[in-house]
């Protein structure tokens, strides 16, 4: 089965979803990411969904699960590039993606991760 690649950049994992994922693919991505976070001790996960034309309840649930799983493993998740039409539709569908942070694009997502209190306090701890 086709898999969504996961790239490691420093202590961040980057996922760019470029295909219309069927449900099994989405579940595989969720598992793969969880494994990679714990293997690499990544501190952040950036998921670029700018190529996705829709996010339905299944994909929405997967994104929420990833964020929840990452949090337990002490990593933060930022969802980047959601198309406006997708955002409008998600809200009308009734999904608010609680606990998932969003940014306009990958660059802003990176900024968000760098500026986050969790990262700063870790930096403080490490420099002590």
């Amino acid at each position: 089965m086709e898999r969504i690649p996961i790239l490691k950049m420093g202590d961040c994992l980057l996922v760019t979803v470029q295909v219309d994922m069927h449900d099994q693919m989405a579940l595989t991505l969720q598992d793969d990411l969880t494994t990679r976070i714990s293997q690499t001790k990544a501190k952040a996960v950036l998921i670029d969904i700018s190529a996705l034309e829709i996010v339905d309840s299944f994909i929405g649930r997967m994104l929420g699960n990833i964020a929840g799983m990452a949090r337990i493993l002490d990593a933060q998740t930022v969802l980047v590039g959601m198309r406006p039409a997708v955002a409008i539709t998600l809200v009308e569908l009734g999904m608010s993606l609680p606990g998932v942070r969003t940014a306009l694009n990958v660059e802003r997502g990176m900024d968000l991760i760098r500026m986050s209190p969790a990262n700063r306090s870790r930096h403080d701890r490490e420099s002590r």
Binding site: D20, M21, H22, D23, Q24, E53, I54, V55, D56, S57, F58, G60, R61, R83, P84, A85, V86, I88, T89, E92, L93, G94, M95
Partner: protein, 134 residues
């Protein structure tokens, strides 16, 4: 109301749910829907197609371009011979699920479409007709 053109597709697997999404997108573009309306129709189709696979073990969808006077629209008819829905009103409540979903598929896709009619007979199957007007 008249149906001018249409296409019927099987929905048996999650791969075929993707095929349905792509076909509905194509028809929504052909009907001249805005990007937002295209996204709403495709998302609703994805939810209803998944329900057909997950709750009924498969079925079919008929995608039709329809006209009523000057109005153009897209009508999606999902049909299955699954277990049926005993209480449709309950199934349409946000958060109601008999599986491990979020229970947003039916209620959410009803909000995303303009007309939404469910008919179901326990032990025989379910038919969902969902229409979006341009």
């Amino acid at each position: 109301m008249t149906a001018s053109q249409g296409e019927q597709l099987p929905i048996r697997t999650s791969e075929e749910v993707v095929v349905v999404r792509q076909a509905v997108r194509k028809w929504a573009v052909a009907a001249g829907f805005s990007i937002i309306d295209q996204t709403k129709v495709v998302t609703a189709a994805s939810e209803l197609a998944r329900n057909t696979v997950v709750h009924a073990g498969g079925g079919t969808v008929l995608i039709e371009q329809i006209t009523s006077g000057e109005r153009r629209g897209l009508r999606l008819t999902f049909e299955d011979s699954g277990p049926g829905i005993p209480d449709i009103e309950l199934a349409l409540k946000d958060g109601y699920t008999t599986g491990n979903g979020l229970g947003l598929g039916l209620s959410g896709s009803k909000r995303l479409m303009n007309e939404f009619v469910i008919t179901s007979t326990v032990g025989h199957g379910t038919k969902v007709v969902a229409t979006k007007w341009k």
